[in-house]
């Protein structure tokens, strides 16, 4: 356990990123592109999990085994279980080493294991599988593999499974990439500017808000990670509003503000339909000096001033 302890005792910050990526388990999707390649990050993660004592399986489809193992120490190389699908992808040589079902069969076989030890499976690469297998089958297999440990009432507790998948996002349309990122527990998108690589990490914990962070890093030749600060600060101030707050009342042709006096006058105004107690008193007890209501009648030229009561001849 000395190498793993040595790895953990190293500067905490440098290893935090890899730790956080591997801690959650499930499917870790590494999205890279032509400019920012992700295989070195994949190998760094593989090295980290090998040093932590986990079982590491590699499904190598895109590069040869020698190229993948290049750069690893011999003890790490001894810990890796490598399934080679690069040399003979369609199994024409009919050797018994290869899995009968191809890479998909290998994935499905890993679903059925009962080992309580934690396992890391590295898929190099997921794009290769996505181009050759139907997307739905691959998603179902990935889901089955990465969710073995999520059954609480299981009799045989299975250890945590991490599936690291390298996806070249330029090879696929938005559909498969969207589907895989919705299945993934952690999604790392590689990018960068001016020679500095960055990883945008999105963690989706179940039933919690996803958290994202951007980390600048570089990978050293022995596949350990060096975290960096990032280039000159090009801060995107999200705190500033996109629209500068303009007071809309500055250029109006009418006055919207009330001065203090006006406000007081407004508050003390009794509205016509408000039934206040003063009004009630005034109606109940008419004051004697208050003039009773008058009717001022100015007869018009057309008004009929007949004093006779038109209802006189009615027999009521």
């Amino acid at each position: 356990m000395t190498p793993s302890e040595g790895a953990r005792a190293g500067t905490g910050r440098e290893l935090e990123m890899l730790d956080s990526l591997l801690a959650l388990g499930g499917l870790v999707l590494l999205r890279d592109s032509v400019e920012w390649e992700g295989r070195s990050l994949l190998k760094a993660l593989v090295k980290k999990s090998a040093l932590c004592g986990e079982q590491v399986h590699i499904l190598g489809c895109e590069v040869s085994e020698e190229e993948f193992r290049e750069g690893f120490d011999s003890d790490i190389n001894n810990r890796l279980v490598y399934h080679d699908f690069f040399r003979d992808p369609l199994n024409w040589s009919k050797t018994e080493e290869a899995f009968p079902g191809g890479p998909l069969g290998a994935l499905r076989a890993m679903c059925k294991r009962t080992d309580p030890a934690p396992v890391t499976i590295a898929l190099d690469s997921l794009s290769w599988l996505l181009l050759r297998l139907p997307c739905t089958t691959l998603c179902q297999a990935l889901h089955a593999v990465s969710h073995q440990d999520s059954c609480p009432g299981d009799s045989s507790p299975v250890g945590k499974v991490s599936v690291l998948g390298l996806l070249h996002e330029e090879l696929h349309g938005p559909g498969p990439v969207g589907v895989l990122s919705s299945l993934a527990q952690t999604e790392v998108t590689l990018g960068g500017t001016m020679g500095h690589a960055s990883a945008h990490i999105l963690c989706r914990r179940p039933r919690q808000r996803p958290t994202d962070q951007t980390q600048w890093f570089s990978i050293l030749p022995d596949f350990s990670l060096d975290l960096q600060q990032g280039p000159s600060v090009e801060s995107q101030p999200y705190s500033d509003p996109h629209i500068p707050l303009v007071d809309p009342t500055t250029h109006l042709t009418f006055n919207l503000h009330l001065s203090k006096k006006e406000r007081e006058a407004r508050d003390s105004l009794t509205l016509p339909f408000q039934f206040s107690s003063e009004k009630q008193q005034a109606l109940l007890r008419p004051r004697p000096d208050q003039a009773t209501s008058h009717i001022f009648y100015e007869p018009d030229a057309y008004d009929d001033l007949d004093q006779e009561d038109p209802d006189d001849d009615l027999d009521i």
Binding site: R108, P134, C135, T136, T137, C139, Q140, H143, A144, S150, C151, P152, G153, G173, P174, G175, P176, G178, V179, S182, L183, R204, R207, Q208, R209, P210, D212, Y238, S239, P241, I243, L245, V246, P248, T249, L252, F254, L256, L258, R266, L271, Q274
Partner: protein, 449 residues
């Protein structure tokens, strides 16, 4: 209204009802309710099942969706025999909550549950249901919760438009005497005894299907076929379609299907735009709706429509479902930093409400709805636009927020002392009524932007 509807339905069964009525000298206006005399009644008899109630508009039997605020928006509840489709939000955080509320409501009312999922084991889903609030002491916690979030402005009484204070607000607290629509505490789990006492069936796709099945083109995906057979078996065996006449006590079957259309069900509409099985999902919904219409069941489906590549499929799916509710969360979008939305976690779009035995549907007046997940409660509110400072956003805001913004403009521009304090339900009502009178003048002004 209900009595007239009864009359119409009785008269509609031509001849026989009239004949029986004339025989017995009974009018065709029948009073609803339990009959004291044991005689056979010719009027329609309501099925009284726990947890259901008839709609006040057309007598349709309704079940609660688990969220009384959502029930109110859907016109009283979810009609028995219909499908509620929830379009998932991008990170699938809030749609499982609505799914669980629906199932929890079924357990509390004693309905039978059928949970189908390709992602999680149904037993695990049932373990995570929220706990119901059945006591009155919980009402005090709710009132405190609500009070802490109330803004001081809403406590000002209106001096001029005082009649609008009497308008009913949206219910956000528990009503003690409600048998329809319960409240749940999202921070606690449902007690184990309630889950075990309930009758539920689970369908977990990886267990039911072997992976080497061949799929013929232009047919249903095997996952969907199995699910439909499973649902049909349950409906038939347990007598939800009336096929088992010995059953005395009728019950409702609540079906919940999670993540329908995702590749975990074997469907590739999310992966490719023109897949081989692009009609599989629509066929499934069509057959499912047929099964539901002929049985006493209600179904909730969550679907990741943001992943579906072909937009025509989304339109077809919407047409094939009865109620469609879309959730849009603000996480990760630029709206998260918009101060207009700082109180809320996302928007709810009611995209479709069915017209069942009716010419019109029961739309609510409020169209701008936002939801918020508080510690214990999932609330749905109409968006509130507060004060004059929001006039800056008026100029750049989206068109659909026209009416509440219009009222704010009126308040700001013309009649300052008429501007009532903004509170949840009032603003939109006043705005709309004023709008209809003045829209001619202002529409020209506002549509310049």
């Amino acid at each position: 209204m209900a009595a007239v509807a009864t009359c119409d339905s009785v008269a509609g069964s031509t001849g026989s009802a009239v004949a029986t009525a004339s025989k017995r000298n009974v009018t065709s206006f029948q009073k609803r309710g339990p009959r004291a005399s044991g005689t056979n009644d010719s009027g329609p008899r309501l099925v009284s099942i726990a947890g259901t109630r008839p709609s006040v508009r057309n007598g349709q039997l309704l079940v609660s969706t688990g969220l009384p605020a959502l029930d109110q928006l859907l016109g009283g509840g979810l009609a028995v025999g219909t499908v509620l489709l929830i379009e998932e939000d991008k990170y699938n955080i809030y749609s499982p909550l609505l799914f669980k509320y629906f199932l929890a409501e079924g357990i509390v009312n004693g309905h039978t549950l059928l949970v189908a999922s390709a992602k999680e084991d149904p037993a695990n889903i049932l373990q995570e249901l929220p706990a119901p609030l059945l006591d009155d002491k919980c009402k005090k916690e709710f009132d405190e919760d609500v009070y802490n979030h109330k803004t001081p402005e809403s406590n000002i009484k209106m001096k001029i438009a005082w009649r609008y204070q009497l308008l009913p607000k949206m219910e956000i607290g528990p009503v003690s005497s409600s048998r329809f629509g319960h409240y749940y505490d999202a921070s606690k789990r449902m007690p184990q005894e309630l889950i075990e006492a309930s009758n539920w069936h689970g369908f977990f796709l990886p267990e039911k299907i072997s992976s080497t099945l061949k799929v013929e083109p232009c047919s249903l995906t095997p996952g969907y076929t199995k699910l439909l057979q499973f649902i049909q078996n349950i409906i038939y065996e347990e007598g939800f379609d009336g096929s088992n006449p010995q059953k005395k006590q009728r019950n409702i079957l609540r079906i919940g299907i999670q993540n329908l259309g995702s590749p975990l069900w074997g469907d590739d509409i999310c992966c490719a735009e023109n897949g081989g099985n692009s009609h599989s999902l629509t066929k499934f919904l069509y057959v499912l709706r047929g099964l539901l219409r002929t049985s006493l069941s209600a179904c909730i489906i969550t679907m990741p429509t943001h992943l579906i590549q072909n937009k025509a499929i989304i339109a077809r799916v919407t047409n094939l479902s009865d109620i469609v509710v879309g959730l849009e969360s603000f996480i990760g979008s630029e709206r998260e930093t918009n101060p207009l939305y700082k109180d809320y976690h996302g928007l709810i779009h009611i995209r479709q409400i069915p017209r069942l035995n009716n010419l019109i549907c029961d739309e609510s007046d409020v169209k701008d709805l936002a939801f918020k997940l508080k510690r214990k409660l999932f609330t749905i509110e109409a968006e509130v636009q507060k004060g004059v400072s929001t006039a800056t956003f008026l100029l750049d805001g989206p068109r659909k927020k026209l009416f509440p913004c219009l009222f704010q403009l009126l308040g700001v521009a013309c009649i300052p002392w008429l501007m009532a304090s903004s509170s949840v339900f009032k603003v939109s009502n006043i705005g709309e009524s004023l709008c209809y009178q003045l829209s001619g003048f202002f529409s020209a002004y506002l549509f310049h932007f």
